[in-house]
Symmetry: D2
Subunit: 256 residues, 4 copies
């Protein structure tokens, strides 16, 4: 942005050069109260705990450590991953889990952890993913000292946009995702008027800053435009043979 | 977004209606490796502590509890707010404090607290603010059970855009700001090609989601367009007579 | 944009510096047919005449020189401006005229002319305006050798954004407006998710390039956010005493 | 946009429901002169002829029917297409032609015509293209009763975004392109901070409305991000065996 300084100086000197020019009126002066708007007063939200990032008072809790009642198995049946000690762990024989509720734009918090003795490498090491509106995957992978294609790293918009950096914690430590998602708007012909956008913060580090999502996140092929309305959150059971991932403290705030 | 579902159904039925139409080629099939990009590999950042939100390894620490060496008093002289017990507290006789370094786009973390026995009301209660690039103020105010104009609440782009909700903690408790700022781009005539944008997360709750900043945040009058380059972070000493605000754990990550 | 060249060179030299680094896979090669999409085939539109800018085949003709059947007087009654010789001229005793049909996003063509012997000055000289969705005014004024506040010039978003340049033809000559308008999208709380945007081409010269409209175009006060759906086109009868403006060849294409 | 009407009604009823609530201050009233800005006064541009779309006074004329002095052959040598009767026609043995001057953001006008007895079909019928900043192709093709892949039609961002409609004139008739292009801004890592955007009007009909360009327009493969600065306009000599295309009346206005 250095050039802007030059511009500012240029403008200043331009002002000097114009000093002898015709004098134009200034806008009339205002008073402070002219730009103060009191309504509608904002809803009060009690934030969560500063150390544990527990759910704010207006959040929908998707997993509080006790059960998977907010989820189904993708076909409407019960979600059958393993809940134990306040944590849910993928059962690789049971497929994905999907929220029963659909969402538009939202703020999503979730925490995830791969086993300390995780095995495998590349995409075959702690692979999972969180699908926004069941269409757009933010990748989850153990990228701690594990290289892969960068648009398949943790925090990538899968096979689209790589994360800005790699902020992984070690296997066995908990990773935190804070995701802010803005739902797309479609034209009548089914193409995007506005594409979906997402901010991803991983362990307090920005990986995606209001990144435009170009379309569905395909394993094979280019992103596709598929018109859709509200949709659920999906957590992926990935078929790689590495030891399974765990999740805890999942909550979501609707932003309509 | 309900209408999108209708659109999707309309498109499906349109597809049926067109079933007898001319057959067009499909795009040729692809293979997974065609959309996998390996370079440039991402820089590794060691995240901060999960409970204390300490600085990630690539952050510039602006205040770690020990001194104000990263700041000046707005005129190049030493910043003279009071540092004690790992916390810095405004000295209302000493004016604002300003970072010595300038920044473009960034991620900023700071924590702030008004005294448990805070006095005053409206804008006269724990008023301060953080100025991005020394131009655009994200308001700080004790809004706990304290009404004011909504574009002057905590988390407002001051006198522009109110926060989505009110997520204040009680006086005496620490509030956390996570701010993601994208610097503006100017045309040669000094107007915005792209306005600045900001995401503000307060105590883990989104108050601003990539909000466009319309111009400078003026106490009197409409926002102004002032071309500028990189600029510092400024913390405001506000002249209201209420007891002074404190800050801790301030760090920033440059996002170029 | 000069700095981009420097960036490119920097990147090239970075590539050289990295030459000895680890070798990563390249994406697999593709074939041309993989990025060729055949459906849905595009609707054929027969364009208008190259010299007269007559309406394309998919346009709705709002005024073809014969009558004001597509318009009402703002209260549902007949539009009573004066139609003569293929041209409609404001009757300053009859108020605005408003299209009977409502529109979302659109492309609008209209031509306008102030009398060769126009009188008055500043805002009192051939003042009119075209209101998009009945909310957002693109100013019309005789700005030929007639200075005024720049956010009130022809082609300004009235009292918001001035035009890039002044491309007026002389009084007595026809001016052409080509306006591309994208309707806003609102959040559930009535604020903009996406603001309206407009491109204005005046006599073949770009005055506004996808400019964001900040809110309603108020004579007094700052722009306001008023949630709305589709709306009509309104042509303004301005009460200034100067001789009245004329219009011809008005058509609109819906862009849904 | 129908849902917005529902929103407006909802808000109205919400207002009624809140009628008994606490009364908040209104912003202080303003006066008209507070939002009137007089400087900087706008540059006067004399528009071109209303029937021939000749160049406005601030345009750079790239081809006025007389010679190709503003162009080279891509290697710095003379541009050797055939100039005759105010028209330039491709010589398919001579390659592309490229402007000697580089441009950032701009408005470009050009007119093109394929022979009345054009032969060939699909992409092999009057194929050419205009490359913006030498990187991003707006396709030119005889699409009059000639089907092809839609992201390869006239007015497509080649192999990216198809045009909204097909507004071709018959072979032997002149087609008009009005193109408004906004140059990209890059981050320091060479990725887009803001992608390039383009509006394409073909024969007075909007084909692209501030469409984001995703990257370079590749014949083979996905769009690529290549950091660059200002660049020339390139007109393509396409190797298909169909009879050659002609151009006339080419001018450009810089929009910095």
């Amino acid at each position: 942005m250095k050039k802007n300084i030059a511009i500012a100086l240029t403008l200043l000197s331009a002002v000097c050069a114009q000093a002898q020019e015709k004098k134009y009126p200034e806008p009339e002066g205002m008073r402070p109260g002219m730009t103060e708007f009191w309504t509608p007063q904002r809803k009060v939200v009690t934030p969560g705990d500063i150390k544990t990032n527990s759910a704010p008072s207006d959040a929908i809790v998707l997993f509080d450590g006790k059960n998977l009642d907010a989820w189904h198995n993708g076909n409407g049946g019960p979600a059958e991953w393993i809940v134990k000690n306040g944590v849910v762990t993928v059962d690789k024989t049971k497929g994905d889990i999907v929220t029963r509720k659909n969402f538009g734009s939202f703020q999503l918090h979730l925490e995830w952890c791969v086993p300390a003795d995780i095995n495998g490498e590349g995409q075959g090491r702690g692979n999972s993913g969180v699908f926004l509106q069941d269409k757009y995957e933010v990748q989850i992978l153990d990228c701690y000292k594990n290289e892969t294609y960068i648009n398949g790293m943790t925090g990538s918009i899968y096979k689209q946009t790589p994360p800005q950096v790699n902020a992984m914690r070690k296997p066995g430590e908990w990773n935190v995702y804070d995701i802010i998602y803005t739902a797309p708007v479609f034209k009548e012909d089914g193409t995007y008027l506005y594409r979906p956008r997402v901010t991803v913060i991983h362990n307090g580090v920005v990986l995606q800053n209001n990144t435009e999502i170009l379309g569905t996140t395909e394993y094979i092929g280019v992103p596709r435009t598929v018109p859709h309305g509200d949709g659920p959150i999906r957590l992926q059971m990935h078929g790689d043979p590495s030891k399974g991932i765990s999740f805890r403290n999942i909550w979501i705030r609707e932003m309509k």
